[in-house]
Assembly symmetry: C2
Homo-oligomer: 474 residues x 2
Amino acid sequence: MNAPLPRIEPREMPPAFLDALQQTFGERCSTALAVRQQHGCDESSFVAPPPAAVVFARDTADVASAVQLASLHGVPVIPFGAGSSIEGQLLAVQGGISIDLRGMNRLLSLDADDLTVTVQPGITRQQLNEAIRHSGLFFPIDPGADASIGGMCATRASGTNAVRYGTMRENVLALEVVTAAGEVIRTGTRARKSSAGYDLTRLMVGSEGTLGVITEVTLKLYPLPEAVSAAICSFPSIEAAVRTTIQVIQLGVPIARVELLDGRSVGMVNRHSGLTLREEPMLLMEFHGSPAGVREQAETVQAVAGDFGGQAFEWATTPEARTRLWTARHHAYFAALQSRPGCRAISTDTCVPISRLADCLLDSIAEADASGLPYFLVGHVGDGNFHFGYLIDPDSPSERERAEALNHQLVARALSMQGTCTGEHGIGLHKMDFLVDETGAGAVAMMRAIKQALDPKNILNPGKIFSNPSTPGR
Amino acid sequence: MNAPLPRIEPREMPPAFLDALQQTFGERCSTALAVRQQHGCDESSFVAPPPAAVVFARDTADVASAVQLASLHGVPVIPFGAGSSIEGQLLAVQGGISIDLRGMNRLLSLDADDLTVTVQPGITRQQLNEAIRHSGLFFPIDPGADASIGGMCATRASGTNAVRYGTMRENVLALEVVTAAGEVIRTGTRARKSSAGYDLTRLMVGSEGTLGVITEVTLKLYPLPEAVSAAICSFPSIEAAVRTTIQVIQLGVPIARVELLDGRSVGMVNRHSGLTLREEPMLLMEFHGSPAGVREQAETVQAVAGDFGGQAFEWATTPEARTRLWTARHHAYFAALQSRPGCRAISTDTCVPISRLADCLLDSIAEADASGLPYFLVGHVGDGNFHFGYLIDPDSPSERERAEALNHQLVARALSMQGTCTGEHGIGLHKMDFLVDETGAGAVAMMRAIKQALDPKNILNPGKIFSNPSTPGR
């Protein structure tokens, strides 16, 4: 059984549209089923009919042409980056076409003196960091998956480095965007700050493809830290690990990463990545700075951890050892899937003010334990953001129901603590109702009014974030 | 002679509206000329007829009531914070009423463990920092003037600390806003990050009162640094000071403040504040961190400064000495006005990528020198943002023309260098044409579409950022 799908509302696909598309793009327009299917799914557990065609864009002009045709015929367009979104953002729930941006993966301009880079949206974060390595700079935002930069903009991604470097919200300086009418606009300059009119950059960041197709991105970069060290520390309880994190943040320690894994997730990671980490609640940390600064940070954190019963730090000092640890962390999701062959993961993404993190986590763990479902738990705890992954048998409706019930309870708890239903994954198809609960009907009405104003034909990734603007209610 | 005013377009003021306003607010609604005049000007050099009435709001419900009445009668409303904006944002160019928010200056909730605070919009940044001092936290954004937090949100303010702590864009977590229909919405939660729908917070930040009236603000706070030290360093040339700054930023030194004053501005400050600083190009810097971290930063910066011929640092180690220095810096604007009694200042606000800062400054200085106008020059150079203030005789049309011509040349230069016409002051009445030059007609059309969607009657601070949505062209 597949996931219940929110509102499949395919629109009519005018044959003239597909003809025009094929005339314009030739063999860069595919209607092969395998290609369409590959572009009609993401890392979510949802399933929908695939898009009617896939256009492989080479440049901004291609994107503009495709959107102009789609606008003329009222056909939905869905931008495709790396396919790693996890809330159904890529699914063609109202039909339409996918625009594959993976061919637009060039670095357009590296301005090392200004700590900025301008790229096409299809470049992935690893490709980007590879391409700028010689400059002594790096782009820190790291959601785990090797996502495309355009997709990371679209979902307002963050990940393990956000506690120090912020999220995509803080690190995108400017965008080039193809509007719903197929026009090309720029949302900003390379200046570090600006008060010039409405912040269209931040309006596009996190809009999940519903307000425009991102065709160019200017990002902030950072000097590679002079010194980097990573450490793991095991704790007698999740609470001890979380309380350590809270105190570290409150002390203002500029820790670069602080990730929580619960004991069972450590076990999954061990088995998946061939490691022998102690299968107890664990913090995985990284410190960036000058050698003296890193030493100072680490000493402070060790002292705090000690107060909460943390074990002595185990250091990963070589780049290879660090990479092995972080790769293992990034593979936690796959390690978890592997632990129950054939399962799917229902991922949560709540984020709460850090003072409420321990309460939120502990209550949610108790609920998850009581449910009997297997799960993993990882968290960007420095931000108050964490993910349960409930590992369900996709053929068991009751397991899915239990998982969704757990997610609902968790979101309700996070909202009651002044948190959010999604720290970094986005609303997609899955959290529309939560969005209303979180922000209120008035704020969602304002979002809908913006959507209606900028995309009056509702062709840009329709059915995501909220259902059709014309549909009453949610 | 007063400044030429962009488009005075007063609307009809229905007598029934003023009656209803006075019935609702009683003595908290004033039509006294002196009160209206006080609310009808800011720190800009523009002059317009005052608003028809001023409502003194006590709470969000007051603001909502006033906006509901204004909406019913199609009357403009202009939020008033501290009156310190400098691009004409407060001027009633289309008539209407001012809503004075200074009475809404309470701290609503300090969540020290989460490093957040929620305040009413009329609280000023100094009042805020005074109110939270006991917590060991502070709010770093410092535009110089003791602006209101609501006003700082509205103009996307920044100032001297932005190089390390960011601007209002990065430091507002959530807002409560009264919409054009008089409804109350919330734009976010207290979570540090979120991917829940469109970023209404950042859409409101920098919208200059044209999309809603801000009635509550949740801000990020920071632990007071364990160690703070400030230093001044004189340089043989502006270029040497700027090149020092550029290198410090490129090295990734987390300097908290780095401000440039040219030699004549130092002289003005000396005479205004009774100081005896060397009247040469000067950097005024501040370092925040642990004692060892501050020492390390200062050593790095001293070494770089030495390479460019900088004098030995003069340290301001006591809080009193630091306050004296920064107060002097913050009074540079008034010091400059005092240097030419009766003058007005035409302020510029360009911001460029830091690699272009030296070129941009030096060419602009040469132009200013050639013009014969007196001026001052201060800069948040760590961000690439600087301000010329051309000191003109308000009765001399030719001086105003020369100043505006200099500003035009400067903006054109900044835009050609991928910079912005305004780093922190906003568009207001003064930079509408520059906004189109900077972002392009397509982006401005998108902004207008948003304005039209959220404020269809155009009652929220109309005539700012762009002229009426219904007016063709700019």
